[in-house]
Amino acid sequence: MIPAQFEYVAAGSAAHAIDLLGQHGDDAKVLAGGHSLLPMMKLRLAAPAVLIDITRASGLAGISLDGDEIVVGATTRHADLASSDLVRTEAPLLAHAASLVGDPQIRHRGTIGGSLAHADPAADLPMALLVLGGSVEVSGPSGTRRVPADAFFTGFFETALADGELLTAVRVPRQPGVPWGYQKFVRRANDWAIVGASAINGRIALANMGSTPLRASAAEQALAGGASPAEAAELAAEGTSPGEDIHADREFRGHLARVLTKRALEHLS
């Protein structure tokens, strides 16, 4: 119910945070909204010795346009993403995904950077980034790099973030007016998705069908080859490796992936 003891330090800037990460190495974790990290720490599933709070660090906030991309600072909260006129116009799927994370109180704290770095395969924002074909900006001791969504999620709660690196911003293509679909299947409203499916521009991504958010590649190829949404959706579960839990076994997850993909393709906003 309460975390093990730790040292707390507030970073004044992204550079400062990276510095601190370098100093403390494995002993430290980055704290933004804390709504993935603190619950784990309270259950003693994580016990970092140092928390580096980046909530007020300069250079990590804000939503802006940069050419044909939207740039979202890592510490942007889900509530702000969901209500941003800019995002709702240019990448409404992203705003919609953010509006579905948890509940209102969680959305007032949780951040896009935190959610992506946490990389829960059942979560909304990782799937959304993947289907949008976005990328993340990562900064570390050796400089800044961009990692496309397809390469960012590397395993179960694992990302391409190397030791000492900080996720500083998220970039998604501007796609105003492009039809998009989003289906999140839950038992109760504020649960994680039992299965999620999203579609835009010929890309289809799934949540909770494997250890990372996944592209439904077979279905995408069928669509590209002229198949109807219903036909393409039949292939949605190919190449996936869904887990089993009290809500759903593998077979049911596969079935949901197909149904939700069909609906994501057919019920475009």
Partner: protein, 164 residues
């Protein structure tokens, strides 16, 4: 470490452990025990308070994170013996039974109405998805929030009323 924040309009400065949760800070250090702890997984919302005017679950915020910010708890809602319109609406509609979820539910409702002053019933239900109640079945809570939204609840002194 030293944290400085404003609680119900009063600026405070306290020495705390970094791991002290905001809910424990409010309850044990400030003596404000209306916010309750009902779970371990940020699920139940009984600890909801307003942080800079927005509803948050104080069990998942470190006191240290709230430094320099403004916290309002259920104790800080009402003014001078009068109930806040949302509190009055909860009373009028019998939106509480055992009362354990109530301060958190009220603060979540206040936060909800600030962001969406005229919600539909569905929007109220979704807006309270982070607040669990075992006693009321939510029916009267929803009625209370809708009544408060419609301005039906005039602040009143805390007195029993008989409505025939």
């Amino acid at each position: 470490m030293q944290v400085e924040l404003t609680v119900n309009g009063v600026l405070r400065s306290d020495e705390v452990e970094p791991r002290l949760l905001l809910v424990h800070y409010l309850r044990e250090v400030c003596g404000l025990r209306a916010a309750n702890i009902g779970c371990d997984t940020t699920s139940c919302g009984a600890c909801t308070v307003l942080l800079d005017g927005e509803s948050v679950k104080s069990c998942t915020v470190l006191a240290a994170q709230a430094a320099g910010q403004d916290v309002v708890t259920a104790e800080g809602l009402a003014g001078d013996g009068e109930l806040h319109p949302v509190q009055q609406a909860f009373r009028n509609e019998h939106g509480l039974q055992c009362g354990f979820c109530t301060p958190g539910m009220v603060m979540a409702a206040v936060g909800l109405l600030r962001e969406n002053p005229n919600p539909t019933e569905d929007e109220v239900r979704e807006g309270l998805e982070g607040n669990l109640c075992r006693c009321t079945g939510y029916h009267n809570i929803i009625r209370a929030v809708l009544a408060a939204a419609n301005g039906a609840a005039e602040p009143a002194t805390a007195q029993a009323e008989v409505t025939a």
